[in-house]
């Protein structure tokens, strides 16, 4: 088996360009897509249209900023609608005219949210807004109360009154701020407890690692076809080396190559893009092992169905790109509505791997989120491997 791995590595020396491309391409994409599609700092983009333009609407925006989860962009209505409808942002917030007045009048102020679909972020924003407005209300009533109290003892002109109110308001706000972390974490919706760190870099880092390692796995296994064509395969097969060792040597080589690629991509995702790959190391390793087995088996199946490496080069990219799309490697499945497509994501290995990895890396789920997907991937692997051996056994050499 080692002999086979060794000779594969020797061959790799003079034929490494394709694998280098499988590694470099997604790394470039990762940076480009990650920064183009997201905002890069782990915050949720929140477009805000402030038509009230009042002291209190500004206070609300500041409150939202102080929460730390949102990257707030003030813009006009058109732009806000565009961003939401194009999915650049999940929610857009509109502060209507008369916002300040209703607060001053002690009424419930109305806020409008633009959404294209329900999402966890939407609910958490609702919570944050409620909390913020409540705080604004408290601050105002404390400031009012303080001024009313002071007025009994001091002579205040209108100007002094206004500046005093502002000062008290600020002071109260600062007091709130000291206690903010408690209030904030309570208002963010997620199952794991700490803050969800969803951003485009995380999506692309996981997605491209899964999608492009598959290329490496499948083409590394596909080297068998090259050997069959130039008949080296025959030479190896009439040697005393058993079929089992010949196959396992080739498969282990593919595993090594693909896993090395995953490792580099994860390292860069973690070190450079700040993706939280280490959130649940054991879980990540388990999913990637199952995925590796599944994909290498798929490679073997594809290599036994097609006849030449040329055919593989034509068929594999089409198959891999489309199944990676379905599996949610290129864009998050969260933005997909079609029931059919979501169901389809359950029949491609990438779908299961993506799901499990996102659950543990983004949504902080524990090992319970890993077992089922890993088991499904292993079973797919067994199925592929079994069919592959069946096919190559019956096929003419």
């Amino acid at each position: 088996m080692l002999k086979i791995i060794y000779v594969r590595l020797l061959n790799l020396k003079s034929n490494y360009i394709p694998y280098l491309i499988f590694l470099a391409l997604p790394l470039i994409f990762m940076f480009v897509f990650g920064s183009a599609m997201g905002n890069g700092d782990g915050k949720i983009l929140l477009p805000v249209y402030d038509s009230d333009k009042s002291e209190y609407s500004l206070a609300l925006v500041r409150e939202l900023e102080s929460v730390g989860t949102y990257n707030i962009a003030i813009m006009d209505m058109e732009e806000l609608k565009r961003q939401v409808s194009e999915n650049s942002a999940e929610v857009g917030l509109v502060i209507p005219e008369g916002f300040q007045k209703s607060i001053l009048d002690g009424k419930t102020p109305g806020l409008e949210m633009f959404i294209t679909r329900e999402s966890p972020n939407l609910y958490s924003l609702e919570g944050v807004l409620l909390g913020s407005i409540q705080r604004i209300n408290y601050n105002i009533s404390i400031a009012d109360g303080t001024i009313a109290f002071l007025e009994k003892h001091l002579e205040l002109d209108a100007e002094g009154r206004a500046s005093l109110k502002e000062r008290v308001y600020q002071l109260t706000g600062e007091k709130w701020n000291e206690r903010l972390p408690v209030a904030v974490s309570g208002s963010v919706v997620n199952s794991g407890g700490s803050e969800a760190s969803y951003d485009m870099y995380t999506q692309t880092s996981i997605g491209f690692t899964i999608a492009f390692s598959m290329f490496t796995f499948i083409f590394a296994v596909g080297e068998i076809l090259e050997e069959k064509q130039n008949r080296v395969w025959d030479r190896i097969n009439v040697s005393p080396l058993s079929k089992f060792r010949i196959y396992s040597g080739n498969l282990v080589f593919a595993c090594i190559l693909g896993m090395a690629q995953m490792f580099i991509m994860i390292l860069i995702g973690y070190g450079v893009l700040g993706v939280n790959w280490l959130n649940n190391i054991l879980g990540v390793i388990m999913v990637l092992f199952a995925y590796t087995f599944c994909t290498v088996s798929l490679g073997l199946l594809m290599s036994s169905v097609v006849r030449t490496s040329h055919q593989l080069q034509v068929i594999a990219p089409v198959l891999l790109v489309s199944s990676s799309m379905i599996g949610g490697c290129y864009w998050p499945l969260e933005i997909v509505d079609s029931k059919l497509l979501l169901a389809a994501s359950k029949i491609v290995p990438q779908g299961w791997a993506m799901n499990a990895l996102k659950d543990i890396i983004i949504y902080n789920q524990g090992m319970s989120a890993v077992y089922l997907p890993s088991a499904v991937l292993m079973m797919m692997g067994v199925l592929f491997m079994g069919t592959a051996l069946q096919v190559s056994e019956s096929a003419p050499t």
């Binding site: 061959n11 034929n15 008949r231 030479r235 009439v238 040697s239």
Partner: protein, 310 residues
């Protein structure tokens, strides 16, 4: 008996690649399998070397059924595939090392064997060049070398000289003789009857998946000893002339190839004068005519009515 194969069959969808043949290989001989393209030579060899499973029949190596225990023959078999079966991107040295290791050779022993093989094939100078930069003849030699490292008892060579220059070809043929003189049993397939005639002790003639004749060169030629082969060159092809030849008493086969015509007829039948007569009748001029010593080519022609290289 080294190898005894009986009732071998291999059918692909439409083709009966090998159709119920018996083959025996005796220790120390050079056995030839002669046949045109598609005759089933490679398929036969693949079955004998345990590479593909026959659809029927049985192959015994020294009495052991190789379908039950392919290990016995694999350890001691060297195979030279019809195509150059080497890693093109690796050097000859790297290729030989790898194939040697498949037979558990290593270290100094492996280095010694590689040296020996490179010497035998006259490849010493360029062992570190990549195979893909070699000439056709050199590739062929490394292809043979890779089968010799483990000192096989049997060497199976599938058309090892296809597509190379005469010099390399002679070198290879000499090497085969030399290997055989060291006691290696050789199975040699070819569609060049000269090679088989030069090398082989016994010959199987294959066509369309069947063995149509077998025996020593002499035995095979005796098949046509009652016949003689007449070759002539004419100044122009003429249908009526060939039709006339076919109709002559004692003529068994007429093979026409442009201005060359080959006739097999009964020996000593005074056929020549009748050929001249026919030529005169049809206004055809004979540029040359001769009675040939029979070759295996003629045997094949006699057996199948076709030339080997049609």
């Amino acid at each position: 008996m080294l190898i005894q194969a009986s009732n071998l069959k291999k059918y692909y969808k439409k083709v009966k690649a090998v159709d119920d043949i018996d083959i025996e290989v005796r220790e120390g001989e050079i056995l030839g399998i002669l046949g045109p393209n598609g005759a089933g030579k490679s398929t036969t060899i693949s079955m004998l070397s345990s590479l593909i499973k026959p659809d029927g029949g049985k192959i015994c190596f020294k009495g052991t059924d190789i379908s039950k225990d392919p290990g016995v023959i694999r350890k001691t078999l060297g195979i030279v595939p019809q195509d150059v079966a080497l890693y093109p991107d690796l050097s000859a040295l790297e290729n030989l090392k790898f194939f040697g290791r498949l037979y558990r050779l290593r270290g100094e022993e492996l280095d010694g064997r590689i040296e020996e093989v490179l010497d035998l094939l006259g490849l010493n100078g360029r062992a570190r060049d990549r195979i893909k930069h070699y000439s056709g003849g050199m590739k062929r030699r490394v292809n043979i070398g890779a089968a010799l490292l483990h000192h096989p008892e049997i060497l199976i060579m599938d058309e090892p000289t296809v597509g190379i220059d005469p010099q390399s070809r002679n070198h290879i043929l000499e090497t085969v003789k030399q290997l055989n003189s060291k006691g290696i049993t050789i199975i040699y397939t070819s569609h060049y009857m000269e090679e088989v005639e030069f090398l082989c002790d016994r010959i199987y003639v294959m066509d369309h998946g069947r063995i149509i004749a077998s025996g020593t060169k002499e035995e095979l030629k005796a098949l046509i000893s009652k016949d003689e082969t007449i070759e002539m060159q004419v100044d122009r092809a003429d249908e009526r002339f060939t039709a006339k030849l076919k109709g002559l008493i004692d003529v068994k086969h007429v093979d026409e190839n442009g201005d060359r015509i080959t006739i097999i007829s009964n020996k000593n039948s005074g056929i020549l004068s009748r050929i001249f007569e026919a030529a005169l009748e049809n206004g055809v001029n004979l540029k040359s005519i001769q009675i040939k010593v029979p070759t295996l080519e003629d045997v094949f022609l006699y057996l199948t009515g076709r030339g080997l290289r049609d």
